[in-house]
Amino acid sequence: MSKFAKKKSGELPAVSTASLPDIVFMLLFFFMTVTVMKNSDVKVENVLPNASEIKKLEKKDRVITIYVGAPTREFQKVFGTESKIQLNDKFADASDVGDYILMERAKKPQELQNVLTTSLKVDKNANMGLIADIKQELRKVNALKVNYTTYEGDAFNNLK
Protein backbone atom coordinates (compact mmCIF):
# COMPACT_ATOMS: atom_id res chain seq x y z
CA MET A 1 0.00 0.00 0.00
CA SER A 2 2.00 2.87 -1.18
CA LYS A 3 1.07 6.42 -0.57
CA PHE A 4 0.67 7.13 -4.22
CA ALA A 5 -1.67 4.36 -5.13
CA LYS A 6 -3.91 5.50 -7.92
CA LYS A 7 -7.51 5.92 -7.18
CA LYS A 8 -9.24 3.49 -9.39
CA SER A 9 -12.85 4.24 -9.32
CA GLY A 10 -15.03 3.04 -12.17
CA GLU A 11 -16.63 6.46 -12.65
CA LEU A 12 -15.75 8.54 -15.67
CA PRO A 13 -14.64 12.07 -14.96
CA ALA A 14 -17.18 14.71 -15.98
CA VAL A 15 -16.71 16.18 -19.44
CA SER A 16 -14.84 19.38 -19.13
CA THR A 17 -16.85 22.39 -20.17
CA ALA A 18 -13.89 24.70 -20.14
CA SER A 19 -13.78 24.73 -23.93
CA LEU A 20 -17.43 25.58 -24.36
CA PRO A 21 -16.89 29.35 -24.63
CA ASP A 22 -14.31 28.74 -27.32
CA ILE A 23 -16.68 26.66 -29.34
CA VAL A 24 -19.45 29.16 -28.97
CA PHE A 25 -17.21 32.01 -30.01
CA MET A 26 -15.97 30.02 -32.93
CA LEU A 27 -19.49 29.44 -34.17
CA LEU A 28 -20.34 33.05 -33.59
CA PHE A 29 -17.39 34.24 -35.63
CA PHE A 30 -18.20 31.74 -38.34
CA PHE A 31 -21.73 32.94 -38.75
CA MET A 32 -20.69 36.54 -38.47
CA THR A 33 -18.37 36.18 -41.41
CA VAL A 34 -20.57 34.18 -43.75
CA THR A 35 -23.82 36.01 -43.24
CA VAL A 36 -24.56 38.57 -45.87
CA MET A 37 -26.94 41.22 -44.71
CA LYS A 38 -29.84 41.35 -47.06
CA ASN A 39 -31.42 44.74 -47.02
CA SER A 40 -34.34 43.91 -49.24
CA ASP A 41 -36.56 40.99 -50.05
CA VAL A 42 -36.97 40.26 -53.69
CA LYS A 43 -40.62 40.80 -54.46
CA VAL A 44 -40.41 39.86 -58.11
CA GLU A 45 -39.88 36.59 -59.91
CA ASN A 46 -36.16 36.54 -60.41
CA VAL A 47 -34.96 33.61 -62.45
CA LEU A 48 -31.87 35.03 -64.10
CA PRO A 49 -30.93 33.89 -67.57
CA ASN A 50 -27.88 31.74 -68.22
CA ALA A 51 -24.74 32.87 -69.97
CA SER A 52 -21.33 31.30 -70.45
CA GLU A 53 -19.01 34.24 -71.16
CA ILE A 54 -19.45 35.86 -67.80
CA LYS A 55 -17.23 37.92 -65.55
CA LYS A 56 -17.44 38.00 -61.79
CA LEU A 57 -18.71 41.10 -60.07
CA GLU A 58 -15.93 41.69 -57.60
CA LYS A 59 -16.18 44.17 -54.77
CA LYS A 60 -19.71 44.19 -53.52
CA ASP A 61 -19.50 47.72 -52.21
CA ARG A 62 -19.34 49.07 -55.74
CA VAL A 63 -22.56 47.55 -56.96
CA ILE A 64 -26.06 48.95 -57.14
CA THR A 65 -28.72 46.37 -57.87
CA ILE A 66 -31.94 46.77 -59.79
CA TYR A 67 -34.42 43.91 -59.88
CA VAL A 68 -36.86 43.42 -62.71
CA GLY A 69 -39.50 40.75 -63.11
CA ALA A 70 -43.15 39.88 -62.72
CA PRO A 71 -44.40 40.43 -59.13
CA THR A 72 -44.52 37.27 -57.05
CA ARG A 73 -47.84 35.61 -56.30
CA GLU A 74 -48.65 37.56 -53.17
CA PHE A 75 -48.20 40.90 -54.94
CA GLN A 76 -49.97 39.97 -58.14
CA LYS A 77 -53.35 41.04 -56.86
CA VAL A 78 -52.15 44.57 -56.35
CA PHE A 79 -49.55 45.01 -59.03
CA GLY A 80 -50.67 42.64 -61.78
CA THR A 81 -48.55 40.16 -63.67
CA GLU A 82 -46.66 42.53 -65.94
CA SER A 83 -42.92 42.90 -65.33
CA LYS A 84 -42.05 45.53 -62.75
CA ILE A 85 -38.93 47.22 -61.50
CA GLN A 86 -37.99 46.79 -57.86
CA LEU A 87 -35.75 49.38 -56.24
CA ASN A 88 -34.75 48.61 -52.67
CA ASP A 89 -37.98 47.03 -51.44
CA LYS A 90 -40.50 49.03 -53.43
CA PHE A 91 -42.01 48.62 -56.85
CA ALA A 92 -41.15 51.54 -59.10
CA ASP A 93 -41.45 52.94 -62.59
CA ALA A 94 -38.63 53.35 -65.04
CA SER A 95 -38.67 57.09 -64.37
CA ASP A 96 -37.67 56.50 -60.72
CA VAL A 97 -34.48 54.66 -61.65
CA GLY A 98 -32.44 57.83 -62.13
CA ASP A 99 -33.29 59.21 -58.70
CA TYR A 100 -32.60 55.87 -57.10
CA ILE A 101 -29.15 55.64 -58.67
CA LEU A 102 -28.29 59.18 -57.56
CA MET A 103 -29.46 58.41 -54.04
CA GLU A 104 -27.49 55.19 -53.82
CA ARG A 105 -24.45 56.87 -55.31
CA ALA A 106 -24.58 59.60 -52.68
CA LYS A 107 -24.50 56.94 -49.96
CA LYS A 108 -21.21 55.51 -51.19
CA PRO A 109 -17.84 56.93 -50.18
CA GLN A 110 -16.52 59.67 -52.42
CA GLU A 111 -13.72 57.65 -54.00
CA LEU A 112 -16.10 54.92 -55.14
CA GLN A 113 -18.71 57.17 -56.66
CA ASN A 114 -17.15 57.13 -60.08
CA VAL A 115 -16.52 53.40 -60.31
CA LEU A 116 -19.96 52.05 -59.49
CA THR A 117 -21.53 49.27 -61.50
CA THR A 118 -25.25 48.83 -61.91
CA SER A 119 -26.19 45.18 -61.70
CA LEU A 120 -29.37 44.42 -63.60
CA LYS A 121 -31.00 41.33 -62.14
CA VAL A 122 -33.67 40.71 -64.68
CA ASP A 123 -35.99 37.74 -64.91
CA LYS A 124 -35.48 35.92 -68.17
CA ASN A 125 -39.12 36.30 -69.12
CA ALA A 126 -39.12 40.08 -68.77
CA ASN A 127 -39.55 42.22 -71.86
CA MET A 128 -36.84 44.27 -73.50
CA GLY A 129 -39.00 47.39 -73.53
CA LEU A 130 -38.56 47.87 -69.81
CA ILE A 131 -34.83 47.19 -70.03
CA ALA A 132 -34.44 49.78 -72.77
CA ASP A 133 -36.26 52.32 -70.59
CA ILE A 134 -33.96 51.56 -67.67
CA LYS A 135 -30.91 51.93 -69.85
CA GLN A 136 -32.09 55.34 -71.04
CA GLU A 137 -32.57 56.42 -67.43
CA LEU A 138 -29.12 55.15 -66.50
CA ARG A 139 -27.60 57.17 -69.30
CA LYS A 140 -29.32 60.28 -68.00
CA VAL A 141 -27.56 60.00 -64.64
CA ASN A 142 -24.31 58.88 -66.21
CA ALA A 143 -24.34 55.42 -64.65
CA LEU A 144 -22.81 53.84 -67.70
CA LYS A 145 -21.26 50.69 -66.31
CA VAL A 146 -23.85 47.96 -66.47
CA ASN A 147 -23.69 44.30 -65.63
CA TYR A 148 -26.39 41.97 -66.91
CA THR A 149 -26.24 39.58 -63.99
CA THR A 150 -26.75 35.97 -65.01
CA TYR A 151 -26.22 32.44 -63.82
CA GLU A 152 -23.40 30.45 -65.27
CA GLY A 153 -24.59 27.96 -67.84
CA ASP A 154 -25.39 27.40 -71.47
CA ALA A 155 -27.11 30.48 -72.87
CA PHE A 156 -29.43 28.38 -75.02
CA ASN A 157 -31.17 27.12 -71.90
CA ASN A 158 -32.88 30.50 -71.82
CA LEU A 159 -35.19 29.42 -74.60
CA LYS A 160 -36.81 26.71 -72.52
Binding site: A18, S19, D22, I23, F25, M26, F29, F30, T33, V34, V36, P49, N50, A51, S52, E53, I54, K55, K56, L57, E58, K60, V63, V68, T117, S119, L120, K121, V122, D123, K124, N125, A126, N127, M128, G129, I131, A132, K135, L138, R139, K140, N142, A143, L144, K145, V146, N147, Y148, T149, T150, E152, A155, F156, N158, L159
Partner: protein, 190 residues
Amino acid sequence: MADIAFLLLIFFLVTTTIETDAGLDRMLPRKTNEPITIDYQRKNILQLVLDKEGGLMVNEELIDLKDLREKVSQFVDNGGALRQDENYCAYCKGNADPTSSDNPKKAVVGINTHRETSYGTYIIIQNELVAAYNQLRNREAERLYETTYTDMEETYQKPGTSAAQKKELKNKIKHLQLLYPLNILEPQQI
Protein backbone atom coordinates in the same frame (compact mmCIF):
# COMPACT_ATOMS: atom_id res chain seq x y z
CA MET B 1 -8.26 24.11 -26.85
CA ALA B 2 -8.28 27.73 -27.82
CA ASP B 3 -5.64 26.92 -30.45
CA ILE B 4 -7.85 24.31 -32.02
CA ALA B 5 -10.76 26.72 -31.98
CA PHE B 6 -8.72 29.36 -33.72
CA LEU B 7 -7.43 26.84 -36.20
CA LEU B 8 -10.98 25.87 -37.11
CA LEU B 9 -12.05 29.46 -37.24
CA ILE B 10 -9.28 30.31 -39.67
CA PHE B 11 -10.05 27.20 -41.70
CA PHE B 12 -13.65 28.28 -42.16
CA LEU B 13 -12.67 31.85 -42.86
CA VAL B 14 -10.45 30.74 -45.68
CA THR B 15 -12.69 28.12 -47.21
CA THR B 16 -16.04 29.88 -47.17
CA THR B 17 -16.53 32.09 -50.17
CA ILE B 18 -19.35 34.49 -50.02
CA GLU B 19 -21.41 33.99 -53.11
CA THR B 20 -20.53 36.54 -55.78
CA ASP B 21 -22.67 37.52 -58.69
CA ALA B 22 -21.45 37.23 -62.23
CA GLY B 23 -22.68 38.48 -65.54
CA LEU B 24 -21.97 40.29 -68.77
CA ASP B 25 -20.36 43.71 -68.44
CA ARG B 26 -21.39 46.50 -70.79
CA MET B 27 -20.73 50.19 -71.09
CA LEU B 28 -23.64 52.38 -72.12
CA PRO B 29 -22.96 55.34 -74.39
CA ARG B 30 -22.93 58.80 -72.89
CA LYS B 31 -26.12 60.79 -72.93
CA THR B 32 -26.18 63.33 -75.72
CA ASN B 33 -28.86 65.78 -76.69
CA GLU B 34 -28.65 65.14 -80.37
CA PRO B 35 -29.16 61.64 -81.66
CA ILE B 36 -25.88 59.94 -82.42
CA THR B 37 -25.39 59.65 -86.13
CA ILE B 38 -22.65 57.46 -87.42
CA ASP B 39 -20.85 57.86 -90.63
CA TYR B 40 -20.37 54.27 -91.64
CA GLN B 41 -20.50 52.28 -94.75
CA ARG B 42 -23.32 49.81 -94.91
CA LYS B 43 -20.98 46.87 -95.28
CA ASN B 44 -19.30 47.61 -91.96
CA ILE B 45 -22.51 47.08 -90.03
CA LEU B 46 -23.93 43.71 -89.10
CA GLN B 47 -27.58 44.33 -88.49
CA LEU B 48 -29.24 42.01 -85.98
CA VAL B 49 -32.99 42.21 -85.56
CA LEU B 50 -34.71 40.33 -82.77
CA ASP B 51 -38.46 40.12 -83.12
CA LYS B 52 -40.95 39.55 -80.34
CA GLU B 53 -41.22 35.82 -80.96
CA GLY B 54 -37.48 35.39 -80.51
CA GLY B 55 -36.64 35.05 -84.21
CA LEU B 56 -33.33 36.49 -85.33
CA MET B 57 -32.57 38.24 -88.60
CA VAL B 58 -29.00 39.00 -89.59
CA ASN B 59 -28.71 41.43 -92.47
CA GLU B 60 -32.31 40.73 -93.44
CA GLU B 61 -31.81 37.00 -93.47
CA LEU B 62 -33.52 34.75 -90.94
CA ILE B 63 -31.00 32.57 -89.11
CA ASP B 64 -30.88 30.21 -86.17
CA LEU B 65 -29.55 31.60 -82.90
CA LYS B 66 -26.96 28.83 -82.83
CA ASP B 67 -25.36 30.07 -86.05
CA LEU B 68 -24.92 33.60 -84.75
CA ARG B 69 -21.50 33.11 -83.21
CA GLU B 70 -20.03 31.85 -86.46
CA LYS B 71 -21.71 34.61 -88.41
CA VAL B 72 -20.39 37.37 -86.14
CA SER B 73 -16.89 36.00 -86.07
CA GLN B 74 -16.86 35.74 -89.87
CA PHE B 75 -18.11 39.28 -90.21
CA VAL B 76 -15.65 40.81 -87.75
CA ASP B 77 -12.64 38.89 -88.95
CA ASN B 78 -13.45 39.40 -92.60
CA GLY B 79 -10.77 42.00 -93.38
CA GLY B 80 -12.28 43.06 -96.69
CA ALA B 81 -10.01 46.07 -97.29
CA LEU B 82 -7.33 45.71 -99.91
CA ARG B 83 -3.64 45.58 -99.07
CA GLN B 84 -2.93 49.12 -100.27
CA ASP B 85 -5.93 50.50 -98.36
CA GLU B 86 -5.34 52.27 -95.03
CA ASN B 87 -7.91 50.00 -93.41
CA TYR B 88 -6.08 46.87 -94.44
CA CYS B 89 -6.15 44.27 -91.67
CA ALA B 90 -2.93 42.28 -91.55
CA TYR B 91 -3.95 39.86 -88.80
CA CYS B 92 -7.41 38.96 -90.09
CA LYS B 93 -7.92 35.41 -91.26
CA GLY B 94 -11.36 35.86 -92.77
CA ASN B 95 -12.61 35.45 -96.32
CA ALA B 96 -11.70 39.01 -97.36
CA ASP B 97 -15.16 39.39 -98.84
CA PRO B 98 -15.43 42.92 -100.29
CA THR B 99 -19.13 43.12 -99.36
CA SER B 100 -18.45 42.50 -95.65
CA SER B 101 -16.50 44.49 -93.03
CA ASP B 102 -13.20 46.18 -93.91
CA ASN B 103 -11.46 45.87 -90.60
CA PRO B 104 -12.41 44.67 -87.10
CA LYS B 105 -11.88 48.24 -85.89
CA LYS B 106 -14.51 49.43 -88.33
CA ALA B 107 -16.96 46.60 -87.78
CA VAL B 108 -20.10 47.50 -85.85
CA VAL B 109 -22.78 45.12 -84.65
CA GLY B 110 -26.22 46.69 -84.42
CA ILE B 111 -28.83 45.05 -82.20
CA ASN B 112 -32.43 46.00 -82.81
CA THR B 113 -34.91 44.67 -80.31
CA HIS B 114 -38.66 44.86 -80.09
CA ARG B 115 -40.30 46.02 -76.87
CA GLU B 116 -41.74 42.55 -76.41
CA THR B 117 -38.57 40.59 -77.07
CA SER B 118 -37.80 38.41 -74.07
CA TYR B 119 -34.76 39.27 -72.01
CA GLY B 120 -33.54 35.68 -72.12
CA THR B 121 -33.19 35.80 -75.89
CA TYR B 122 -31.42 39.14 -75.69
CA ILE B 123 -28.87 37.65 -73.28
CA ILE B 124 -28.25 34.82 -75.73
CA ILE B 125 -27.39 37.39 -78.40
CA GLN B 126 -25.11 39.32 -76.05
CA ASN B 127 -23.47 36.12 -74.90
CA GLU B 128 -22.84 34.88 -78.42
CA LEU B 129 -21.36 38.24 -79.37
CA VAL B 130 -18.91 38.12 -76.49
CA ALA B 131 -18.12 34.52 -77.32
CA ALA B 132 -17.34 35.39 -80.93
CA TYR B 133 -15.07 38.25 -79.92
CA ASN B 134 -13.36 36.19 -77.23
CA GLN B 135 -12.67 33.50 -79.78
CA LEU B 136 -10.93 36.01 -82.06
CA ARG B 137 -9.07 37.67 -79.19
CA ASN B 138 -7.94 34.26 -77.96
CA ARG B 139 -6.54 33.48 -81.36
CA GLU B 140 -4.55 36.70 -81.44
CA ALA B 141 -3.40 36.23 -77.85
CA GLU B 142 -2.04 32.84 -78.75
CA ARG B 143 -0.20 34.27 -81.71
CA LEU B 144 1.27 37.24 -79.85
CA TYR B 145 1.67 36.14 -76.24
CA GLU B 146 1.22 32.35 -76.31
CA THR B 147 -1.65 32.44 -73.88
CA THR B 148 -5.37 33.04 -74.24
CA TYR B 149 -7.29 36.25 -73.71
CA THR B 150 -9.73 34.65 -71.30
CA ASP B 151 -6.86 33.24 -69.21
CA MET B 152 -5.21 36.63 -69.08
CA GLU B 153 -8.40 38.24 -67.86
CA GLU B 154 -8.79 35.57 -65.22
CA THR B 155 -5.24 36.05 -63.93
CA TYR B 156 -5.83 39.78 -63.87
CA GLN B 157 -8.87 39.34 -61.66
CA LYS B 158 -7.18 36.91 -59.25
CA PRO B 159 -6.25 38.50 -55.93
CA GLY B 160 -2.77 36.95 -55.91
CA THR B 161 -1.55 38.74 -59.01
CA SER B 162 1.16 41.30 -58.26
CA ALA B 163 0.94 44.93 -59.35
CA ALA B 164 3.74 44.60 -61.90
CA GLN B 165 2.11 41.55 -63.44
CA LYS B 166 -1.20 43.33 -63.53
CA LYS B 167 0.27 46.27 -65.36
CA GLU B 168 1.79 44.03 -67.97
CA LEU B 169 -1.44 42.08 -68.39
CA LYS B 170 -3.44 45.26 -68.63
CA ASN B 171 -1.34 46.46 -71.54
CA LYS B 172 -1.71 43.16 -73.32
CA ILE B 173 -5.45 43.04 -72.73
CA LYS B 174 -5.83 46.62 -73.92
CA HIS B 175 -3.90 45.79 -77.05
CA LEU B 176 -6.09 42.80 -77.83
CA GLN B 177 -9.21 44.82 -77.22
CA LEU B 178 -7.87 47.38 -79.64
CA LEU B 179 -7.33 44.73 -82.30
CA TYR B 180 -10.89 43.49 -81.91
CA PRO B 181 -12.93 46.25 -80.29
CA LEU B 182 -16.45 45.29 -79.32
CA ASN B 183 -18.57 47.90 -81.08
CA ILE B 184 -22.23 47.43 -80.34
CA LEU B 185 -24.89 49.78 -81.53
CA GLU B 186 -28.34 49.63 -80.01
CA PRO B 187 -30.75 51.97 -81.70
CA GLN B 188 -33.83 53.07 -79.84
CA GLN B 189 -36.74 50.72 -80.08
CA ILE B 190 -39.46 51.40 -82.54
